[in-house]
């Protein structure tokens, strides 16, 4: 009975010690073993089954995968003194768990360090660039309705397209500024990105007013263009009408002139053979046509017709 109890006790202790000395490291984890608070051996980054001395050694788990840092959104003035709302996020991971363990100990305090380092870096960069630099990423020319605007306006637009840095480079700059400061904590900052940039609400209202004014002016331009275009077409219509009518007149006159000329030629040729005779018959025709019952005629007996009336 007593030996049975001892065996049972030994078994229990064995199971307990095995359970206490064997541990699993997951794919997403890395661990360091500490012995009375002191780091023992190198950190284990490969997943699998591992052993330790029970009770004496302690395991500290750290995530190995990529973690998220969400920035505190805040109002930041840009170089051109516009207040904007900037929300950033970052990805980070623990690359040196020993350093991480010694300096920040856990992820909660690590996030606080990230806050302390990334937020000011973001602030530095946003304040030292104009708004357009943080919004645009390239100097690509935009399709606005501004084509055909006045020269000074055009110049203003050109300065809008003159992007020297752009958002991508600013984000890279923030990363490069923050990264060295985080190396001492065993943290690698993978990227810092601007999630949102918006106008603060007071600015937004004035932006809306500006947008409305801009649209109104564009609408007016379209209307005016419409009128102009219509006038142009009306002008074309008038011109074409005149052209068509005058061309027709010219052609008609030419044709008639030619015909007149030909007729004249024909008459001249025919009548030229005896102008006296032509004059004679034409005159007779005139008499025939023009003398009628309204005509009084006084004839002398000397005339050819009445010479016989006077007597022989």
């Amino acid at each position: 009975m007593k030996s049975r109890g001892i065996i049972l006790a030994i078994c229990i202790i064995a199971v307990l010690s095995i359970a206490g000395s064997v541990f699993i490291v997951d794919e997403t984890e890395q661990i360091i073993i500490t012995q009375f608070g002191k780091v023992v051996g190198s950190p284990i980054k490969e997943p699998g089954l591992y052993m330790k001395i029970p009770l004496i050694q302690e395991i500290n788990y750290f995530p190995k995968n990529l973690m998220r840092w969400d920035g505190n959104p805040g109002q930041i003035p840009t170089l051109d003194k516009t207040y904007i709302w900037v929300d950033t996020f970052a990805r980070w991971k623990i690359v040196d768990p020993v350093k991480f363990f010694q300096t920040v100990n856990n992820t909660v305090s690590a996030v606080a360090r990230l806050d302390d380092i990334i937020d000011p870096a973001v602030r530095n960069f946003i304040t030292s660039y104009s708004l357009i630099e943080t919004v645009r990423k390239s100097a690509r020319e935009l399709d606005t309705f501004e084509a055909g605007m006045m020269e000074d306006k055009k110049y203003e637009m050109q300065s809008l397209f003159a992007i020297k840095t752009g958002r991508e480079l600013i984000m890279k700059g923030i990363l490069e500024q923050a990264q060295p400061k985080l190396a001492q904590f065993g943290i690698e900052l993978v990227d810092v990105k601007i999630k949102r940039i918006n106008y603060v609400s007071e600015v937004r209202d004035s932006v809306y007013t500006r947008m409305i004014a801009e649209r109104k002016q564009i609408a007016e331009k379209f209307r005016s263009e419409g009128h102009g275009e219509a006038k142009k077409i009306t002008g074309e219509k008038e011109r074409d009408l005149k052209r068509i009518t005058s061309e027709a007149y010219r052609k008609a006159q030419e044709i008639q002139g030619k015909a007149d000329a030909e007729a004249t030629k024909i008459y001249a040729k025919a009548f030229g053979s005896d102008p006296g005779f032509y004059s004679f018959i034409k005159t007779l025709e005139v008499y025939n046509e023009s003398l009628g019952k309204d005509t009084s005629i006084i004839l002398s007996t000397d005339s050819e017709l009445f010479k016989y009336l006077k007597g022989y």
Partner: protein, 346 residues
């Protein structure tokens, strides 16, 4: 229940020294030795073993097997086996399912409230700054698949929020490089570019996600500005209307004028034909007449003259015949009633 308690108290009072449970245990131990009980235990154990050894993987998923935490293999749909208990662990990942995530919708807003910032989330998801520093409302949908379950499970802690953050950042990057006009009119182009940017970022961070498509919902401008945007559209319509009206007037007038011109020319041509033909006819008649006249000039001339007189004399009104010696003939005549008179010199 009180009944149980009373019974327990009685037992405790009755027998002291030995713990009651132990005593009960020892006392009742032989009773457990019923023939059926070990069998039940065995069956239960086998069921447990079976359930932890055999598992099914659905048609749209794969199983990721970890042995003591370490990734070992991927199992395909169907019935599969693994080592029992804590030795091997299976995680099923739906690789063929297409997931959907909405941005800037009402449905998303409720979920988003958890990540509360001091600005209202409802606006700020879809509100974006455009490249010409205007504000646009851009809602969109991301459809994605898990194409690498290993990366999906192990490489990133919060894949879902990575997708949200990255997709917002990508969309804003793309919108930030476009004017408000382009944002509204070239949505396909925006979706295309955002997809490329987002996919590149997801690949870079080994998320194991693959974007199927990005669909743009109705992009718009913020409410206070919408009316003025409509005004621009109306102005565009109005412009076109005016142009069409002018064209209409043009089209109405010009073909008619061309027809009219054509008519003028035809009339002229008609005149020309008439003139030439008449002249030819006149000439022919004259020539014919002249040929005969030339043969007997005097008599023909006389005949023609007399024939003319014969024709016109009857038509004439008053006829006065005056002797050749009579002078001063005018007082005799009451000429004022006459319209005209012709003196024949011949």
């Amino acid at each position: 229940m009180s009944w149980d308690w009373d019974k327990l108290k009685e037992q405790q009072q009755g027998k002291k020294g030995v713990p009651p449970q132990m005593e009960n245990f020892i006392k009742n131990f032989p009773k457990f030795n019923l023939p059926g009980l070990p069998l039940i235990i065995l069956i239960l154990f086998l069921v447990y073993l079976g359930s932890s050894v055999i598992y099914t993987v659905g048609v749209d998923e794969v199983g990721i097997i970890q042995r003591f935490g370490k990734y070992i293999r991927t199992s395909q749909p169907g019935l599969n086996f693994k080592l029992p208990g804590i030795i091997e662990k299976v995680t099923k990942v739906k690789v063929r399912r297409v997931y959907k995530k909405e941005f800037g919708f009402r449905s998303v807003r409720a979920d988003d409230k958890q990540r509360l910032s001091s600005e209202s989330e409802s606006d700020s998801v879809a509100l974006m700054l455009t490249g010409d520093l205007n504000v646009a409302l851009v809602p969109w949908i991301v459809q994605y698949r898990i194409n690498d379950p290993y990366n999906y499970l192990f490489k990133i802690k919060e894949v879902d929020s990575l997708l949200s953050d990255m997709s917002e950042a990508a969309m804003r990057l793309v919108i930030g490089d476009r004017s408000i006009n382009e944002v509204i009119s070239k949505r396909g182009e925006v979706a295309e570019e955002a997809k490329a940017v987002l996919q590149a970022e997801l690949d870079k961070s080994e998320s194991g996600l693959s974007i199927v498509t990005i669909e743009m919902e109705k992009t718009n401008v913020p409410e206070p500005v919408q009316q003025s945007f409509n005004e621009v559209n109306q102005a565009v319509q109005e412009k076109e209307k005016l142009i069409y009206q002018a064209r209409e007037a043009y089209n109405k007038a010009i073909p008619e004028a061309m027809g009219e011109a054509e008519r003028t020319i035809r009339v002229a041509e008609g005149y020309a034909l008439d003139r030439v033909n008449r002249s030819k006819g006149d000439a022919a008649r004259f020539v014919a007449l002249y040929q005969e006249y030339a043969k007997a000039k005097d008599i023909t001339k006389k005949r023609m003259y007399l024939e003319m007189l014969k024709d016109i004399m009857p038509k004439l009104g008053n006829k006065y015949i005056i002797d050749a010696n009579q002078k001063n003939v005018l007082p005799l005549l009451n000429l004022e009633k006459q319209i005209g008179a012709i003196k024949n010199e011949k």
